[in-house]
Structures are given as C-alpha cells and as structure tokens.
Amino acid sequence: MTDAPVTAAEKYARLLAEAQQVRGTSLGRDAWRRLKRNRAAMIALGYLFLIGIGALFTPLWPLQAPRMVRSDRAFAAPQFQPAFTQTTTWIDDSGAIDDDAVSAAFGIRAADDPKSGWFDAFNRQLLRLRGAIFGRWEAASWCGCDMLGRDLLARLFWGARISLVVGLVAGLVSLVIGVSYGATSGYLGGTVDSLMMRFVDVLYSIPFIFVVILLITVLDDPEVKAGLSSWGIENRITIFFFVVGAIYWLTMARVVRGQVLSLKQEQFVEAARTIGCNRRRIIFLHLVPNLLSIIIVYLTLTIPRVMLFEAFLSFLGLGVEAPDVSWGVLANEGTQSITAVHIDWWLVVYPGLALGSTLFALNFLGDGLRDALDPRLKNR
C-alpha cells in the first residue's frame, strides 16, 4: 500500500511544497487584469514608463551636452538636416573621455571630485557606454537651441530627470506622512482624532506659497547654505522635496482618515483585535493595505500637482537652481524669451508638451487605476 508511515509534520512539509504551486489571485492581480483592458490607461502607463526609462538613462542617449554654451547657435531653430553629426567635444576619436569637459558640459562630477557620489558614478558609466556605442555621433538640435545656444532636446531629457524625481519623491513623502497620520487619526478616533484633524485644518489655512517662498529665501542665504552643505544637503531641490511633501500630505491625510473611519467598523478589524493584534499592526497591516487603491490613485493625482508646483516656483525663480534644469525652468525660460521681435516657439512648445503630456498621462493612469481598483465593482 503506502510507503513508510509518515508523521504529520512530514506530510505537511510535503504539502507545503505543493501549496507553493497554488497561487491565489490577489485583488491586486485582479485589478491589473482590469487595468490591462483600459486602453487609455495602458497607453498612459507605457508612455510614463518610456519617459521614466528615457530620463533614467539620459547619459546613454546620443544627445548633445546640456550645458554646452555655443553663442553662434543662440536661438537656433529646430534642425534635422543632418539628423546626426559627429561633433562631440568631450570624447576624442580614440574613445578617450575627457573628465573635465564632461564635468563642464554635463554637470557630472569627475571621479576624483570629493563630492562625487554614486549617482555621478552611474552617470559616468552610462556616458562611457554611450561613447562605446555611439562614438562621437550626436543628435542635431531637433528641438532648437536656447538663448545660450544650448540644445533644447538634451535639456528636456536632463530636465525630465529632475521634474520626475521631484514629483515622485515629493509625492512619496506626502504619501508616507499623510497615510500614517490619517490612518492613525482615524483609527484612534475620539478626542485624539479631533485634535489631529484640527491641526491639519490649521495647517490648511496657512497660505503655503508664502511659507515656501519664505523658506526658500531663507535657505538661499549664504550662511544657511553653508550650514546645510555641512549636512550634505547640496541644492535647494532636496529641501524642496521635503517642503512640498510636507505640504501635500494634508489632503492625503484627510482622505485616508475618512476611509479608515468607515473601514475600522469592518468585522475583520474586530477579528484582528480578537487575535491580539496591536494598534500598529492593525493600522499598517490590516487597514492601510485595504486603502491601497485610494492611496495609489491619490498619488497619481498628487504627482502632477507637485510637478506643476515646481514649475510654478521655477516661474518665480524659486525652483531649481541653474545650471540644473527642470521642465518648469525650461518653460519659464521659453516664455521669457518671447519678444515682439522674434518668437522662438520651440522654447515654449517643447517644454510645455513634455510637462503637459506627462501630466495627462498621470491623470489617465489615475483614472484607470481608480476604475480598476474600485472595490465596489467586485465583492470582496
């Protein structure tokens, strides 16, 4: 009949291997299936993915150097003939890379620079790879040049890096603060909840643009700057992340708190208490995962708002500092270059397109996610 008698432990150990084969369909996977059917959202997702990859690997693409000033090409119009030229200056025919030229033209620190970090090393590697693949070839100014003759296309790519990171990091900061705060407030309820939410109301009533302007002006003070730099905070943008994240968490906290208020009435929360879960466990392992849909959707709406805010601050000259660029900075420079004498449309249109299309895509994706994750569509 059967082989040697098996103990219960052996039997279950054997079953465990089988159990790993049986994968349930999580609600997340279910939602993904629904999202895949949404054409607009998938196109948006693909577009965002492409932009993300494009921005992440910017030094790899055969683009001109974003900081290369060429007075002879100031306000040069877009040009496609020839599409590619063999004109890079930071690499010679033998393929050797000139670190100083790279540092000036790309803003990538050389390896012997004490401030050079892992990101500089990453960029250097990509540049080296680019040199190996494309040699001295680089794209012509397909999107035209700005008033200093810098190639707009390259600057758009380098600006994407900053704009996207600003959106993502500030969005995540607001998410972490907002979700923790809102979920805690909602779950504790009662007086604690009232106090916590009144605090949010107070913060809401402060006109944040003034706070940000004040903060950034203070942070621009040379003494403050020196102090910050001793902490390893080099540029305004790092601070900007936290400032913006700290502002945008308010709405997230309200949204999450409202959801938690209704969710905590659910029986599974009571069941969790019955088996001895403490508050932290209930909030972060039982409540928050059930709010994931709302959180993700809200994140896709916060990111564009943050990006727009960054652009707005750049318009005021309070955003990203030169020689760094962001889409907001580029759009600002574009509008400033418009005069009655000549209209360099490309300086306005291309940054606007980049910013606008990304915001659109995020919104489409957010809409699609909301539909896909809506728990009411399916019994839970």
Partner: protein, 334 residues
Amino acid sequence: MIKASDAPLLEVRDLKVHFPFRRGSLFRPEHGFIRAVDGVSFSLREGETLGLVGESGCGKSTTARAVLNLIPPTFGEVCLEGEPIAGLSDTAMLPHRQTMQMIFQDPFASLNPRMTVGRIVGEPLKIFRPGMDREGRAVEVMRLLDMVGLNPRFLNRYPHEFSGGQRQRIGIARALAVGPKLIFCDEPVSALDVSIQAQIVNLLEDLQTQLKLAYVFIAHDLSLVRHISDMVGVMYLGRIVEIAPADELYRNPRHPYTKALLSAVPVADPQIERTRQRIVLTGDVPSPDRVYPGCPFADRCPQVRDECRKSPPKLEGIAGTADVHQAACFFARD
C-alpha cells in the same frame, strides 16, 4: 483539592453595555443611552456550551464583544479562569486572548480581503508564538486548515476565492490557532445556506469533543442551539429573561417570551405541526434606548397584568429545579 472543572471557566456578572447617543436638533439635543446589554449574568465550565438566543438587536453580539473586551463594558464583572478581565486594556487583555476566541457572524466581512489564508490563520501564531519560524508556521496553519476540513494546499489563496462555508472554516481555524479553551460563536451559520449550516455545526461539535472546547453559541433561532447546548439563555432587550438546561427549557419553558419563540419553531411531526399553536407577538418592537419601569416585555406579553408595569421582574430560580432553571417573570411559576 478542587478540580479545575469545578471552578467556572467564564463567569459574567451583571454585565452592562450602554452606548451614549445624542439626537434631536442642534439646539435641543436629547442625550440618552442605548442599553444594548443591561445586566447579563451567566457562567460556563470547561467543555460546556451555553446557547444564547434572542431576536435581532437584543444585544447578543454586544455581550460577546464586551466579554472579549472589544468594547469596554459599562458595568459588571467578567472573570476568566478566576481572573477579572472586564475593561482591561488591549495589552493587559493579550494573554487572555489565548484562552478566549471568537468566530464572527459574517464570514464575508470577518476576513481581511488583502491577506492570504495562510497569513490570516498564521497571524495569531505570529503574535503568540514569536519563536516559530516561517516554515513551522506554515505547517501549523496547514494542520489547522486540515482540522477544519479545508484543503491545506490553499494556503496562498485569498478569501474571495472561497465560498461562505469555507470562509467560516477559515475563521474557525484562525480562532483555533491560539489553542483557546473557550470560543464565542456569534451566529456562525446564520449567513450560510441551510445545507452548509449543518456542516459547520457538526464541525464545531467535532472540534468540541476533540479539543474539549467550551462554546458560547449565539443564534437567533432556538431550534439550532437545542442539540449543541448544555444550557440555553434567552435574551430579550439586553437581558437574559430565561436560562435553563437545554432539554428543560424546551420541555418546560416558563417565560412568555420563550414560549412565544418556541411556538414558532416548526416541529418535525406533521400531526403536531398542524395543530401547533403559534403565539404571535403583537405590539411595538421595543427599543433599547427607552427605560422601562416594569417588565420590558410587558407591551408584547400575552399574559401581562397590572403589576408587570410597576417593577421589573428579577431572574429567579424556578422552585424544584435547584435554581438551574431561572426566569425573569412574576408569573413564571404558574
């Protein structure tokens, strides 16, 4: 030496749960209390089953939640294995949760939809046996799933992939994971199909003999608790109005409310069924936010007399039953 089974496992004395409420206009607010549970007492020994019956809203779930300290009781004492636990904080309550567990009314709402079955059943193990490694936990979860009649291979499935009966089994496995002595079953089958109800009740009975569990079995249907319970308590408006050993209660109901409930239970014998007299309760369904000076059942009681409205009847032993049969009616002896 006293045998452990002589001391009650759980003793509840005069438990009250009042929810404050405010209604009326902003300028003329009316404050009051919903007396969801208003003086419930019972005790239970190891391995015994107490049935709690009553219509919807009479405070059965609230009683269970208050005993388990899921809501703070307003008044009263709860002793688990001789230790007072009423109103303990979550932290202080933690060790007692290993003794006392609960199975919930709604199998669809009582499982976290974002967790796999393995995580749901394994969570109490994580909390109470922190030394256990992942694999050990998985094996233990599979043993528990097997025990409640689920395929242990479904460890990584999500609750929404199961039927109502299967989900209730998951809930049972979760309650068993800590190795409790007492389980509150809050209408564990009322949300299920009739065919599945029997399966779950049988499972609970099997587990009781196997693990020597004590149950507080809550139902709104007298026929269901009859064969599973040792004692049955009938609740009305937050109070136990009659409590007796199961057979005694069915043979010899004393409270008019119990009589009315029993008359609504269909009988298997068609002859008797045809001639069965139904006592139809009239009058308003009472609301727990009102204070009744007399017997709370007076408005609907077919045997009501004048004195019933003056003072409330106490739960008292019926003569000749050595106080195991108690009823709260002035005329229970008649």
